[in-house]
Subunit: 461 residues, 2 copies
Amino acid sequence: MENVPYKIYLTEEEMPKYWYNIKARMKTQHPPFINPATQKPCSKEDLQAVFCNDCIEQELNETDEWIEIPEEIRAFYKMFRPSPLVRAYFLERTLDTPAEIYYKFEGNNTSGSHKLNSAAAQAYYAKKQGLKSITTETGAGQWGTALAMASAFYGLELDVYMVKVSAEQKPHRKEVIRTYGANVIPSPSETTEAGRKILKEYPGTGGSLGCAISEAVEKACTTQSCRYVLGSVLDHVLLHQTVIGLESKTALDKFGVTPDLVIGCVGGGSNYGGLIAPFLGDRLQGKSETEFLGVEPASCPSLTRGKFVYDFCDSAKTTPLAKMYTLGCGFMPSASHAGGLRYHGMSPIVSQLYHDGYMNAVAVTQNKVFEAAVKFAKCEGILPAPESSHAIAAAIDAALECKRTGRKKRILFGLTGTGYFDLSAYKQFNDGTMQDYVPTEADLQKGFDTVPRCRVNEDLL
Amino acid sequence: MENVPYKIYLTEEEMPKYWYNIKARMKTQHPPFINPATQKPCSKEDLQAVFCNDCIEQELNETDEWIEIPEEIRAFYKMFRPSPLVRAYFLERTLDTPAEIYYKFEGNNTSGSHKLNSAAAQAYYAKKQGLKSITTETGAGQWGTALAMASAFYGLELDVYMVKVSAEQKPHRKEVIRTYGANVIPSPSETTEAGRKILKEYPGTGGSLGCAISEAVEKACTTQSCRYVLGSVLDHVLLHQTVIGLESKTALDKFGVTPDLVIGCVGGGSNYGGLIAPFLGDRLQGKSETEFLGVEPASCPSLTRGKFVYDFCDSAKTTPLAKMYTLGCGFMPSASHAGGLRYHGMSPIVSQLYHDGYMNAVAVTQNKVFEAAVKFAKCEGILPAPESSHAIAAAIDAALECKRTGRKKRILFGLTGTGYFDLSAYKQFNDGTMQDYVPTEADLQKGFDTVPRCRVNEDLL
């Protein structure tokens, strides 16, 4: 085989010392958050009541291309990074493609995904600010696990509002979070006003991410020395995830490889944004012609079938409004197995990039995703997360296209995590009982009807 | 902190090209397998009916110190190796010890453990021999998963006889095995004579490892172009696992570190034997004074409370007799959570080394093991397997002893795998309902009564 090793691990000296702020290179900035009460841009003070100060600074920073990673966070990163950049020789052989396929694997840590990259940073900033505790919500559980790990490391208390039906269906995820010393509160709960209200209106409900967010925010805002922490969507989360792209780029640069195509799965958009950012920075400076592809589930197609408007970030309509591709904050995706991609909206940065034509997007159905996952597992060894397998499916398609055209493209994709807690989904696929779900136009319209009709959206809706 | 990085990854060129055969350096060889029918040493032909030819060559090789790893296996190893050698800076800080602690982490692959090191080799040799299929048994499921991964890679059919109660309690493990294309047969089953006999005698039984072994061996011996494959205990399995020790030694050598103490958990003994082999080789040549410690569960204390006699390798008494430390092939360990360490016997190599005074052993109770596991998880990030956590517990004890004495020992331990499929055990610990079980002298006597009273044991029992 060729000169590139199967896996490229950077040395610790080669690991990034700065995050990459793609906004400093973007020709058009995404519009600011809007306070739904005043319909005016959110002030720093609005945000400080909820989020940690340093995270807000990063959120609003549009000018500094490089933002230093504090020494303490870099030490924590060394616990689970660098992650390997893998040359998928075995997948190439299986597909019999002339394409070169590379993937960056973020699953080799106990959270099982890339989520720890931002959890490590956000928990550190909370500790630095002198806070005693933080709150968050979790659905599938990767984010809750990652934040529990980071909170244990820094000695912070953590309340995780876990969607009740997830806490019941994924007792093992819940147990990992508990093992790291965090409190898991099935949501809706009696511990908040928002929770009690929902429980009264819908007794016996299994909860929702929207409701869990409302509870976590309320708990943070009503607790002394406490803030709320979010695992995707926001600019500072995407910033922390640029370690994925930066490590990938350094590793590929060592072998003189510039990717022709970079592929990632998109839910909230932070892993994808973090993966593509440094490569996109090069393209925006005319240094490369790399193309970018976001892959979303056909069941929740915010980029390919959504609208680019202002919408709430949660379904309970308690957050600021963000300008993004959205299916409507009230859109109810089907119970697909890619829990991490079941979000109605999309990172404002990724949305702006898509709107401005810097990337493409494609939606894939569930059975096709699992076909790709099993093919990949059998030749590359790793059992991938359903979310990550969206990127695998698109990478396989691109490699097979190369086989047809004879073009030797260099394809890089992000393998965000492992599927060890998704085996009931694999069972459905193995049993041949997995359903594909694609929303009808009527389903979408129901979602769009929940987009707020307000001044900032007047020209858009 | 110091000059040694947090994690040392070898380059692919630095990975071992040879396994290390410690028997070539041992002053006393362990006695041969005995055919229980003839009471004479097993011939190569006896073994060839059951095992692959190349594995038998390795099993019987007492002279070659280095045995080449075929190119194809080295390519497969690159899929999931090198594994990191980690300097446990965060654990050292937590313990406030002057000791240096290092661990070799084998859990970063989908089997979740070191088992893939031997599965990769054994499946390759089966394929090379032109076989169509192989069989095995699995209890906790790591071995079954590893062999399913290797069989998928080489295109071999695989039947995994999985202890019925495990298949029911660990449906997710079973599903991983299925995803890699292997057949999972809950044992006892109707597919073999042995299974049917047990089912008739004990209708509704949950099965046992002994019974699953009998079924897998019978299936292999009665199927065209098929052999049986075992995941521990035997010399060739230990040989394959020396990649653990070899990589560790190369990594430490780079920084001029010679360990004072090497610690591993012991069940069948293969991971431990593979970890210590190259370090022990140095000591046997007078190049070092490294000490060795095997850690076993107090519930199944074959080294610390067993007898060094000839015994069956399975509880159904169908295998050859091996001279080893054993609790008796009929010993029934309690339902502890370290499923991988619930074996009545011990690798003949490890047994001989222990008998000859080259290593120490200690037994640890379950709650102490999980205390160590949680402490480790919180500061080092990785959620360890219950089996591996036996080594952690002993390493922490050794580091705290250094704190008392002020001695700066260099401690290396083997972290064999992750605990992602052991969360019900963690739940028990977190809930404070975990029981410690230590067999009484009467319990042990019941086990010893099942050791065969035969000529080879006459002087020993």
